[in-house]
């Protein structure tokens, strides 16, 4: 079965510094990878996806993610973090066989003013 791992529980970063949220995946076949963000007491908002093509994917709110096949990683990045980026971030992989998304446990990002 497809799965993703988000190794860190919380990421703390100072406002204006680069932000990285890590994700590694395990799939059979070609991966369909996604990042979502969740603000407190809200649903999940889609940020970006990798299906095929360029390894660097650009998404909403200035976020981007780098697909690395050899390292089976799909890390989320933002060059300059904002306080408003403080939220819970989920990596997900499409489970082709079951036609659903399998989510990681989520990373809490705290951007310190």
């Amino acid at each position: 079965a497809q799965s993703v791992a988000q190794p860190e529980d919380q990421v703390n970063v100072a406002e204006g510094n680069p932000l990285t949220v890590k994700c590694t995946y395990s799939v059979s076949g070609n991966p369909y990878l996604f990042w979502y963000v969740q603000y407190p007491n809200r649903g999940l908002q889609f940020l970006l996806k990798y299906i095929t093509g360029d390894n660097l994917v650009k998404g909403s709110y200035g976020f981007e993610a780098e697909f690395n096949k050899s390292q089976t990683s799909f890390h989320l990045k933002k060059p300059s973090a904002l306080v408003s980026d403080s939220a819970l971030y989920f990596c997900a992989v499409r489970d082709i066989g079951n036609n659903r998304l399998a989510f990681g446990k989520g990373n809490q990002v705290v951007v310190i003013p």
Partner: protein, 115 residues
């Protein structure tokens, strides 16, 4: 275009009662997914409906059930509520078809509290 809508926003029940949660997908989306987000447990897949049929279910007991209506809206029923059923229940929809790229669009969720 309206997003995925869920109701009620909050629901408080007692142990042993039944809860019904409702979801309306984005117009043109035929697949509806239900996820449970319990504190500290991440998102757990519950159910997937497409074209009115249950296509897949996660590792949850049979007291979690649901259905999809002809207009593609869906409801999730939880019978014999237990304290550990307290969670945010998220509904998501997806456009089906050959060109669908798989991302899900989520509603704001229904917060179920079991006392």
């Amino acid at each position: 275009e309206a997003g995925v809508t869920q109701s009620p926003t909050h629901l408080i029940k007692t142990r042993g009662q039944q809860a019904t949660l409702r979801c309306s997908p984005i117009s043109g989306h035929t697949s509806v997914y239900w996820y449970q987000q319990a504190l500290g447990l991440g998102l757990q897949f519950l159910l997937w409906y497409d074209e009115g049929e249950e296509r897949n279910r996660g590792n949850f007991p049979p007291r979690f059930s649901g259905r999809q209506f002809p207009n593609y809206s869906s409801e999730l029923n939880v019978n014999a509520l237990e304290l550990e059923d307290s969670a945010l229940y998220l509904c998501a929809s997806r456009k089906a078809g050959v060109r669908a790229t798989g991302e899900l669009f989520f509603g704001e969720g229904s917060r179920l509290t079991v006392l």
